[in-house]
Symmetry: C2
Subunit: 203 residues, 2 copies
Amino acid sequence: MAQKLYYFNFNGFGEAIRYILHYSGQKFEDIRYERKDWPIMEVKDKLPYGQMPLYEEGDRSLNQSMAIARYLASKTGLIPSDPWDQAVLDAIVLDIYDFSNKIKMWFMEQDPGKKEALKKEYVDDNVEFYFSRFEKHLKNNNGHFGGKLYWADFVLVGIVETMNLYFGIEIEKKYPAVQALIEKIRNLPGVKEYIANRKPYSL
Amino acid sequence: MAQKLYYFNFNGFGEAIRYILHYSGQKFEDIRYERKDWPIMEVKDKLPYGQMPLYEEGDRSLNQSMAIARYLASKTGLIPSDPWDQAVLDAIVLDIYDFSNKIKMWFMEQDPGKKEALKKEYVDDNVEFYFSRFEKHLKNNNGHFGGKLYWADFVLVGIVETMNLYFGIEIEKKYPAVQALIEKIRNLPGVKEYIANRKPYSL
């Protein structure tokens, strides 16, 4: 069944999905649009809620990056079998998204002074709030969010890479367990080859 | 195993969880804090990411309303068995949350003129964008998001009730399938008795 992923030519909420697809060896069409061209109305109008990523499998489609990543994980052994363990990873992914979504205020702020203050708040306070917690969780769980490699690990890496690009930082430098996880994901079979051939993203 | 739910004395992101617990006949301690008293630092500091709802089951706890609702659903037959069908409901719940989260800008705006404009935009445009889609989805699926009663239906009702309270509107009036679903949920065994005994929420 033909698999297609529609997203920007950017990491953002799409990269974790790409990592999972490459790691699990699933052939998919990686359809990318340039952010500077967006919105492309003939594409946007066909999206169920006007937003990417969109995942297609044969004649059916799925929106929402978290739903897509979790679904692909469930097909490829990247999800635990116990409902409680599944829920713990759902919560972590939602926590990672909360962290990520806090940049919206910065993104939308037009005033340069206020924008700089929001960036400082994000980089100084928000990163520490979330990553001190992620670091602790990883240390307590064998370097993974769920004790071994599951989908939430991929989600973290995609978001860290995106935030690093936005703010010119390296979040993982202060958090050794996070850094080790990122290195591990980047060197997974499938992911490693994908990254080696991937062109650098720009803002 | 003792079950506890910690949330505000408010509908918000907690009410769907309460509905699911009452409908499935699970005994739980419904611990509520007044929003005017928040933050209560001795409570907030114990929350893994500083936010409610928090769900406890014996000695383990889970944050994130979506993760909690989905977990409780998985225990009580309120989730489909097929991974694709599960993912479709995950996406719908995330779409409902997106709709809900768009009020954050309104919530945080201090300027009365701008705040009123954001309210108008929300009530006029945002509601129609999302609810025309929800309505269509419900009509195409036997009045439910997943063809029969599943957890996403409860999530919709909790969020509609919250937005109606915030803006003094009745979203469902223009959307008959949404209205029918809300009525159905409110009259479910367990939910009906809970609502009959519930004190009205206020802002």
